[in-house]
Symmetry: C2
Subunit: 299 residues, 2 copies
C-alpha cells in the first residue's frame, strides 16, 4: 500500500474524535486539549538511512539535525511553537557509535529551536531508523491551529523561501524549520490566515492536499514559483519534495510583505478557486495536474 | 556502547533543565509543564522485530498491542493517566501489508487504555521497527509524578502482579499496562508513595535503578517474590525482564491491601536500607547482587 492510500484509510476510519482530541490523524500534527491555556500539537516522523539521507556522505550532525527539523517543521506548519522532543534510534552495524554525538547535536538544535530533547531510546537492529516526536503549543484564539482545510475560493496562495533541488543543494539536511515565519504569519494575519501545510512531499502534491482537505482547487502560477539555484525547472521542482517551506492560503486581496522579520521571503504563487485538485498553470495557457507530482513516501 | 552506559551519559549531560522541563531524560517519562492544571508526561519506545517479538509466531494484533502497551506502562510507572499516542513503523519486506490492521488494533487498544492513536508515519525499510510515543498527565499535588528517586531507608518495597517467564508465558505480548494500579496507589498513598518504576529490564536491574536514583540500597527477599507459573526460580526470574509490573517504595510500616480495586495483586518483597545497589537475599543468609541480573537493551 502506498503511504497516501494508507493515510486516506486512516482518515476514513477516524470519524468521531475521542475526548481531548481536537484534530486526529491526517494533518501535519494532531491537536489535543490537555487543559492548558493553549492547545497542544503532536507530530512524529521517521528518518531512514539510505532513503532520507546518504549514510556514506552525511555527518552525524546533519543526520541528527534533519531528524529533528522534519518534526519541528510540522509544528511550524500549524503556526505553533515547539515545546519538547523525544527521539528513538535503531542502529545497524557500527552506526551505534554515533549515539552520543547524535544525542548531543539533537539536544543543541532542540534548545535552539525551542524543542529540548527530553527522552529517547536507542537500540541495535538490521537497519538504521530514527523516529522523532515533537510536541508544541498553539493559541486557542483565532485562527487556532492552522490546518490544511480552511482555504476558500478567492484566497491567495503564498510560499516561504524557495522550491526545488533540495537534495542536490543539501537544503534537506540544513534547513531551519519555519517556526518564526509561522508565528509571525499567525500574528500578522489572524483570521485572514486560512490554511497551511509544510511542503515535504513536493509543492504539487502538498498543494493538492490543501485542495482536497478544503474542498477547493489550488492553481499555481508556474512562472511565479521561486526556485532554488540548482533547481531544474518548475515542473520538476514542484515534485522534488523535502523543501520544508510553508505553503499558505490567505484572504483574497491580502498583500503580504515580501520579507518577514526573520528574513524569510514570501512569494505569492497562485490562487484558490472553486473546483478540485491542484494545477500548475503557465501564462501561455499550458496546464499540468500538479497533485501527481512529488513523491509518495512509502511507495 | 551498552544502553545503560548511554543512559548514564545522557543523564550526566543533562544538568539544568530548559524552561518547561520539570524532569529530563533518565526516568520512565520526562515531565513537562505546559501550563495546564496537571503536569505532562512523555515517553517513547521501540519495538523491534526479532528482538521484542518473534516475527514468525506473533499476530499483528499482539505486535500492535505490545508496541503501545510498553509506552503506556511508562505512564503507569509515573502514576499518571495516558492521554494520546502516536506511532511510526518501518516495515521490512511484506510487513507493510500489516499497516491497516496494526493501525486498527492500536487504535482500539489506545481507546481502551485512554491513549487514542492520533498520528503516525509508515514507511518501508530493511527491518521492521515500530516506535510508539505516549503522552499523559499527572496531578501536580503531592506526590506529583512518581520518580525512581525518592525511596528512603526503611521504606517497604512492593510489586504488582507476578515476575518471571514473561516470554515463555506470552505475558510480554498480552499484559495490560498497570495504569489503574498506579492511579489507585497514588490516590490511596499520597505522599507515602515515594518511588516507582515499571519492571521492564528485570526486577533486579530495575530495583538497582531505584537504588541508584534514590541513593539507597534495595534489598529483595528472595522467598517473597511472586513468580509466574512457568518461571524458573527467583534468581533467574529477576533477570527475565518484560514483566511490566510496578515496583514501588512506600513509607515504612505501611501495609497495602493484597488486592487493588482492579484485581491487581500487591506483594511486599523487600525493604529499602542505607547503602547502595540492589540485593537478593535468602532466609538462609545467601545474598546475590541483583542489579546485574536482567538484560541490557542495546547490548
Amino acid at each position: 500500500m502506498r503511504e497516501s492510500a494508507f493515510h486516506e484509510y486512516v482518515q476514513s476510519r477516524s470519524g468521531k474524535n475521542p475526548r481531548g482530541v481536537v484534530v486526529g490523524p491526517g494533518d501535519d500534527c494532531a491537536v489535543l486539549d490537555v487543559g492548558a491555556d493553549d492547545l497542544q500539537l503532536i507530530t512524529t516522523d521517521q528518518l531512514i538511512a539510505g532513503r532520507h539521507y546518504d549514510p556514506g556522505a552525511t555527518t552525524v550532525e546533519l543526520i541528527a539535525r534533519k531528524a529533528l527539523a522534519r518534526s519541528v517543521s510540522d509544528i511550524a506548519a500549524m503556526c505553533g511553537r515547539p515545546v519538547a522532543a523525544v527521539c528513538t534510534a535503531c542502529f545497524a552495524g557500527d552506526d551505534g557509535a554515533m549515539a552520543k554525538e547524535l544525542f548531543d547535536v539533537m539536544s543543541a538544535f532542540g534548545e535552539e529551536w525551542g524543542a529540548p530533547l527530553v527522552g529517547g531510546d536507542f537500540a541495535s537492529g538490521d537497519s538504521t531508523v530514527l523516529t522523532t516526536t515533537v510536541i508544541g503549543m498553539v493559541e486557542r484564539s483565532e485562527p487556532g491551529p492552522l490546518l490544511r482545510r480552511g482555504a476558500k475560493a478567492g484566497d491567495g496562495l503564498w510560499v516561504t523561501g524557495a522550491i526545488g533541488a533540495s537534495f542536490e543543494s543539501g537544503h534537506h539536511l540544513r534547513f531551519t524549520p519555519r517556526v518564526a515565519a509561522g508565528l509571525e504569519l499567525r500574528r500578522r494575519l489572524g483570521v485572514k490566515l486560512h490554511a497551511a501545510i509544510d511542503v515535504s512531499d513536493g509543492l504539487g502534491r502538498d498543494a493538492g492536499r490543501i485542495a482536497r482537505a478544503s474542498g477547493v482547487r489550488v492553481e499555481v502560477d508556474a512562472e511565479r514559483v521561486p526556485l532554488r539555484d540548482r533547481a531544474r525547472g518548475v515542473e520538476r521542482s514542484i515534485g522534488d519534495g523535502e523543501d520544508y517551506e510553508l505553503l499558505i492560503a490567505v484572504d483574497s486581496g491580502l498583500e503580504l510583505p515580501p520579507v518577514l522579520d526573520d528574513g524569510t521571503a514570501m512569494t505569492r504563487i497562485g490562487t484558490v478557486t472553486e473546483g478540485d485538485g491542484a494545477l500548475l498553470r503557465w501564462e501561455d495557457g499550458r496546464v499540468l495536474d500538479a497533485s501527481d507530482a512529488g513523491w509518495d513516501h512509502g511507495s
